[in-house]
């Protein structure tokens, strides 16, 4: 009550936005729970059991897990490589840095459609390129054009490329920030103490990057779970959890199943967040050891 009196003016001005956000929050949660657990008014798990009995859905979940578990580490590794490359000074590096922002400046749907066109079958640029028909790349990798959209692996691979193209700058930026927090003198110290490039990477750079690495893992794994537009445009035949929600809703008009799958997706995301947070905390107790099993006290 005291708070009410003290902050009356403030509470009044935050009320509209609070109600707006709160209202939608409750709406979303209650709607999803209501429709999926109480389709006819009474509590039932029938919607969920129907989904889980569906062999196709199991495949979709597995496919999504693979998508997340390949995409996230791939993005992490690439972002580390990119960051290390960008960390060097020079003209090329400053050009590359100034282009960071470019993928943000292109709407996601546009990126997806550009990839759609580039990976067209049979005459898209990528097919032509891989057939070695351009003078800039005279290597014949494939003899026949590939139908990228008709293969489960390839269509999801192309979706992942799109996602990586769009999100790598952020991840690279996070890693680069971590890199620039390492004192140059630490690297120099390691050098004068005899460490080579690889040892510096292994003993100094990577361990000190761990927090940034976790940030990337954390943000990116969630991103890969939620990704919708790229698979929607580029892999329309091979559903992920996100795209199957749209399919249930628009094509089959099954609001209850769509809601149930939405909650399942939310569940996967929450579990991922908890897992990564947990391992982050574990890591805090973990020390990097250079010399194992020594006794300090004689």
């Amino acid at each position: 009550m005291k708070i009410l009196k003290e902050y009356l003016f403030e509470l009044i001005i935050i009320a509209p936005a609070t109600l707006f956000l709160l209202g939608f929050f409750i709406l979303i949660l209650f709607y999803l729970i209501g429709v999926s657990f109480f389709p006819q008014g009474d509590f039932t798990l029938s919607v969920y059991s129907a989904i889980f009995e569906d062999q196709e859905f199991k495949r979709i979940v597995l496919r999504t897990i693979i998508f997340v578990f390949i995409g996230t580490p791939l993005e992490l590794i690439l972002s580390i490589i990119f960051a290390i490359l960008l960390f060097n000074k020079g003209i090329l590096s400053s050009i590359a840095r100034s282009l960071y922002i470019v993928p943000f400046a292109i709407p996601t749907i546009v990126t997806a459609i550009v990839l759609f066109v580039l990976f067209d079958y049979p005459g898209g640029h990528i097919n032509v390129l891989l057939q070695g028909k351009y003078f800039i790349f005279p290597f014949k990798i494939i003899s026949e054009p590939i139908n990228w959209r008709s293969s489960e692996f390839l269509s999801l691979f192309v979706s992942m490329l799109g996602k990586l193209w769009r999100d790598l700058p952020i991840s690279t930026f996070i890693i680069l920030t971590g890199l620039s927090n390492i004192y140059k003198e630490e690297i120099d110290s390691a050098k004068v103490l005899g460490a080579g490039d690889f040892q510096i990477l292994k003993h100094i750079v990577i361990p000190e990057l761990i927090p940034s690495i976790f940030t990337v893992l954390f943000l990116r794994s969630i991103e890969f779970w939620k990704e919708f537009i790229f698979p929607f445009i580029l892999a329309p035949r091979y559903y992920l959890i996100s795209t199957v929600i749209e399919n249930y809703y628009h094509n089959w008009n099954m609001v209850d199943k769509a809601s149930a799958v939405s909650l399942i997706l939310l569940g996967f995301i929450v579990i991922t967040i908890i897992l990564i947070r947990f391992s982050m905390n574990l890591l805090r107790f973990f020390t990097f050891r250079l010399v194992k099993n020594y006794e300090i006290k004689n």
Partner: protein
């Protein structure tokens, strides 16, 4: 004496101007040599060139008799302690110290032995299990020192190691570093902008300015025989007094005259050289500690003055008086217990044997002995 380090005409410039130019000097085995100069004069750059962390534009670096100019840092056996210590934050103190040994593929048994040994010498044995973030500034510095020393480098480079710790601890560390140097007999190149550190520890001091070496000598020689006005004002705890005046002939005798009123007698030796400067301007320098305070009943000593004490500043066991003679301020160092208060008049004598003379234009010490 065996030569351990030799720089020959080393140039290392950034943007064509900053950096170091034509640096040459030799450090013998077991010697403690300081590079002294104000911030930005190229001290750190010199150390980096010695460590191989910066490539020279031209010139040669010899380490232990071998031309090491193109050796990578890993091959030089020269370790460096950085100004910010640069401890590895994710390693314990033990692993920080062990790092260099590990890189040299020393076996774990010997590593433990050596780390413990150096830790006990530097009195950090209790902290071996801690992370750098759990150490105080002084402790961090010892760890950095231990890390650089434990590999028994040919040369140890110290970059302003005492600049980040408080004055009291600095005094103790100066003594400790000195005794550590005696004990381990490591060849040390020490960088500082603090003349007191350089004077109290070094066998030799190299004074740098704007990327060049100005003077190289023992601490005593640098103090008594500064090459120019810059060195004279840089060395010494209290800044030398400088008075611009003319060498004039007055009744057949050569005198230093400032402001027409202040007329100073000179020694015969001084006169013999200053004849050449007759009717020319020179700068006279005298250290605050070299000004002689007279007892009230003491007779004339020559160059006697009396003046009013304007300001008194306290510096530990000393105090500094700013006294006006004929409107011109001069600083005089007296012991703490010297009884004087502001606005008192005191008598003192500027003894000619304590004078330094510098060329007005070049700032060179006219009496510099090579």
């Amino acid at each position: 004496m065996k030569e351990m380090l030799r720089l020959e005409h080393v140039y290392k410039t950034y943007n064509n101007t900053d950096g170091i130019k034509d640096i040459s000097f030799i450090v013998n085995k077991g010697e403690f040599v300081s590079l002294l100069g104000s911030s930005g004069c190229g001290k750190t750059t010199t150390l980096k060139v010695i460590a191989g962390l910066e490539k020279v534009n031209s010139g040669k670096v010899y380490i232990d008799g071998k031309d090491a100019t193109n050796f990578p840092p890993q091959k030089r056996d020269v370790t460096m302690v950085f100004q910010n210590y640069a401890l590895f934050p994710h390693f314990t103190v033990f692993d920080n110290i062990a790092f260099g040994l590990k890189m040299r593929k020393v076996n774990d048994y010997d590593i433990v032995k050596k780390v413990k040994n150096i830790a006990s010498i530097l009195e950090i044995s209790e902290y071996l299990d801690r992370k750098p973030s759990e150490l105080s500034g002084g402790q961090k510095q010892r760890v950095a020192l231990a890390r650089a020393l434990v590999v028994e480098p040919k040369i140890l480079l110290l970059d302003e190691p005492l600049s980040n710790i408080d004055a009291v601890l600095r005094r103790t560390m100066i003594l400790e570093l000195k005794s550590l140097h005696k004990k381990l007999n490591t060849t040390i190149v020490y960088v500082t902008h603090n003349q007191l550190e350089a004077i109290s520890m070094s066998d030799r001091i190299i004074i740098m300015k704007d990327g060049r070496i100005i003077q190289e000598d023992t601490p005593e020689k640098i103090f008594t025989n500064p090459k120019n006005r810059f060195v004279a004002s840089f060395i010494g705890e209290f800044k030398m007094n400088f008075i611009e005046g003319r060498i004039e002939e007055r009744v057949g005798d050569l005198k230093f005259v400032a402001y027409n009123d202040i007329v100073l007698n000179l020694t015969d030796y001084q006169k013999s050289k200053l004849w050449a400067f007759k009717d020319k301007f020179v700068i006279l320098g005298i250290r605050p500690s070299d000004i002689y305070i007279k007892h009230p009943r003491e007779g004339l000593l020559g160059n006697d003055f009396s003046g009013v004490v304007d300001i008194i500043e306290h510096f530990g066991i000393n105090k500094l008086l700013i006294v006006k003679i004929k409107g011109f301020p001069i600083t005089i160092l007296v012991p703490k217990d010297f009884n004087v208060s502001e606005n008192d008049t005191i008598s003192f004598s500027l003894l000619p044997e304590n004078f330094y003379f510098f060329d007005v234009e070049t700032g060179e010490n006219i009496f510099y002995e090579v």
